[in-house]
Amino acid sequence: MSSASLKPAAIPLQDPGPTPREHAAVAAAITACRDLPGALLPLLHAVQDALGYVPSASLPMIAHALNLSRAEVHGVLSFYHHFRTSPPGRHVLKLCRAESCQAMGSVALEALAKQRLGIDYHATSASGGTTLEPVYCLGNCALSPALLVDDELMGRVTPQRLLALLDALESGS
């Protein structure tokens, strides 16, 4: 596990709890998923699909619904790279770091993205436009280098195409 994915989901002593919007999304996910076998992953996906993240403050709700301890839910939430506990930017950009993309120049693309956005991985640009994440293989290895922007895959990414994409993401279009 990378240190960044071990973000503590600490709950402050004066816990305000989830916001009404968070509460509604989590409650809906609980209703939809609680009867599934092995419900926790589908439930966390449903929450993140609705909100873009899984609020730490909703852990007690989820734990209670599934008859788990808060520690168990936190353990699962922090184990998987896909889940985040804070809101992302307007777009999530995942750059492939794996070997096939490296063979086609992805290391330069990583440097370019970090420089243009002024951030490292697991962070959001100052404009709030783009959250940058690493990913290890998108299964597009014959068209390397590849990236995933939100749920859309891009192949044969060149520095020019990446810069154009970053401009679009940052300008909000």
Binding site: M1, S2, P37, G38, A39, L40, L41, P42, L44, H45, L66, E72, G75, V76, F79, Y80, H81, H82, F83, K94, A98, E99, S100, C101, Q102, A103, M104, V135, Y136, C137, L138, G139, N140, C141, A142, L143, S144, A146, L148, D151, E152, L153, M154, G155, R156
Partner: protein
């Protein structure tokens, strides 16, 4: 006359603009009063030609590619609907050498059909394996898979028939079939292609497995990095269910099989079968100690067959054509065909399904056509991020599980990633350790801590800090990982590191 035009909807094709091409074709056909039927097929997996547009003509399907949306007007001007001449015209798709030289068995329908069209599937040989399986006893089905020589295509190459028999012989009220579609290896996309391009073949394979071992529930675990595959496969499950192939009465047989797709969450380790089972149960994807084998105590402690997508996708054909048909391909203990995936710095990247026995050199020269950069090949990583980096001088090795292992490599899931002579192998070795650190489940200390220490030791060697002693330390660390890890992640992460060190010491500043 209505002309059928094919534009792939596969993720890879879409990643280079297939949707825009399809939209432009539909628009221009309407504007110019041409009657077309636009089919969004899977990909033929000739990826350097994507987006690959095909037109059905009386002589066969004619291919044009790679097509950019801005070129669609000129295709219409050249009467591509009639197979007209154009600079992008590639001739008959089936005659493209990359495709013609293959032996596509498991991937026989890929790119040919509309992936979600049940009639198209049935018209191209679909459900024949299921029909035969329903006519046989469960033990006969297991025997057929055993006799075919099929081995697990996920990487471990364990004989599928033995796994099935172990599960079939275990008495339990509930058994499961789990399909491992957590295809995390860099350089591989065979699972994704089948999920998106021929999903019913996988459903059929899982149904047959269920009949064979007495399992009534199935799960498929698809990685979250494949959002489109997850959507397509869920739609396939819904349609197969509506058509009566899933549920309480499979194809009118009175037998039950229920199937659910589950989404992973970005953990490489969940491709390991016991970690996958933990994840399906809603837990952290931490590896279990074996024994007990999943075939004895797997999902929720019940007997479970866990097979890869390609393994299960090969089963319908084995049942339909018989074990001998499949076994007659290949050599030695590697029977049937292997789906090799050309990736990285290759001129012609794509899926090559061939009988075992092709050499790596033939694969890289005859199929891949060398590097995309035009520079010499320096290293080839076979079998994903845990596979060894193989140098030029072993490229004549036959592609066969045992032969690749004999030169220190691993065929794994069949990914072949090519690097040209600009690669820094010390950086690749460092990355292997970094990847292991990022993806370790944390259960075994050598993997959890050793991977981070490995990055540090390699950094010291690369910066010239006491290189000879640090090399010895790195080798010692690798031996600890190899011997002290429960699963393949810690147990094999040293392979790329050691192979880089052995074959390319100059990149570390060490004497050869």
């Amino acid at each position: 006359m209505t002309v059928t035009v094919y534009v792939p909807a596969d993720s890879a094709a879409v990643s280079v603009g297939a949707d825009a091409v399809a939209a432009r074709i539909a628009l221009l056909a309407q504007q110019r009063g041409k009657a077309i039927r636009l089919v969004r097929n899977g990909s033929r997996a000739l990826f350097w030609l994507e987006p690959l547009v095909e037109v059905a003509t009386p002589a066969g399907r004619i291919a044009y590619g790679p097509v950019d949306a801005t070129q669609v007007d000129s295709l219409f001007d050249a009467d591509f609907l009639g197979g007209g001449a154009h600079s992008l015209r590639l001739g008959l798709t089936d005659e493209i050498p990359f495709l013609k030289q293959q032996e596509r068995l498991t991937y026989c329908r890929i790119g040919l059909i509309d992936p979600l069209d049940l009639d198209d599937y049935a018209a191209h040989g679909g459900w024949q394996g299921l029909q035969r399986a329903l006519a046989l006893s469960p033990a006969q089905v297991v025997q057929e898979v055993h006799d075919s020589g099929l081995r697990g295509r996920g990487g471990a190459a364990f004989p599928a028939g033995i796994k099935w028999k172990t599960c079939a012989d275990t008495v339990a009220a509930q058994k499961y079939i789990v399909c491992n579609a957590d295809e995390g290896d860099s350089g591989t996309y065979a699972d994704r292609l089948l999920l998106e391009g021929d999903p019913y073949s996988l459903i059929e394979g899982m149904l047959i497995a269920g009949l064979a071992v007495g399992a009534t529930e199935g799960y498929i675990y698809i990685r979250s990095e494949y959002p489109r595959a997850f959507r397509v496969f869920n739609e396939a499950i819904a349609r197969a269910g509506s058509a009566g192939y899933l549920g309480d009465n499979v194809a009118g047989s009175g037998r039950r099989f229920g199937l659910q797709a589950r989404l992973g969450a970005g953990a490489y380790i969940c491709g390991e079968e016991t970690a996958l089972l933990e994840s399906l149960q809603g837990r952290r994807g931490q590896v279990r100690v074996k024994p007990p084998l999943p075939a004895h105590q797997g999902l929720y402690g019940q007997p479970t067959v866990v097979n890869n997508v390609v393994t299960l996708g090969s089963v319908p054909l084995i049942l339909a054509r018989g074990a001998a048909f499949y076994r007659d391909y290949g050599l030695g203990r590697s029977r049937g065909t292997i789906a090799l995936q050309l990736a990285g710095n290759v001129r012609c990247g794509g899926l090559v399904e061939k009988a075992f026995g092709l050499s790596l050199r033939e694969l890289l020269h005859d199929f891949a056509g060398g590097t995309a950069s035009g520079r010499p090949i320096r290293a080839v990583q076979v079998g994903g991020p845990l596979g060894a980096y193989l140098p030029q001088d072993v490229l004549d090795t036959a592609i066969d599980y045992e032969a690749i292992a004999a030169v220190g490599g691993m065929l794994g899931h069949g990914g072949v990633v090519v690097f040209d002579d600009t690669v820094d192998m010390a950086a690749q070795a460092r990355f292997a350790m970094e990847f292991c650190a990022a993806e370790s489940c944390g259960k075994c200390t050598p993997c959890r801590l050793g991977s981070t220490r490995g990055v540090e030791v390699i950094d010291r060697i690369r910066t010239g800090v006491d290189p000879v002693r640090n090399e010895a330390l790195l080798r010692d660390l690798c031996a600890t990982l190899l011997d002290g890890s429960l699963c393949a992640l810690g147990g094999m992460a040293p392979f790329p590191v050691l192979s880089a060190l052995d074959n390319y010491p100059e990149d570390f500043g060490l004497a050869r």
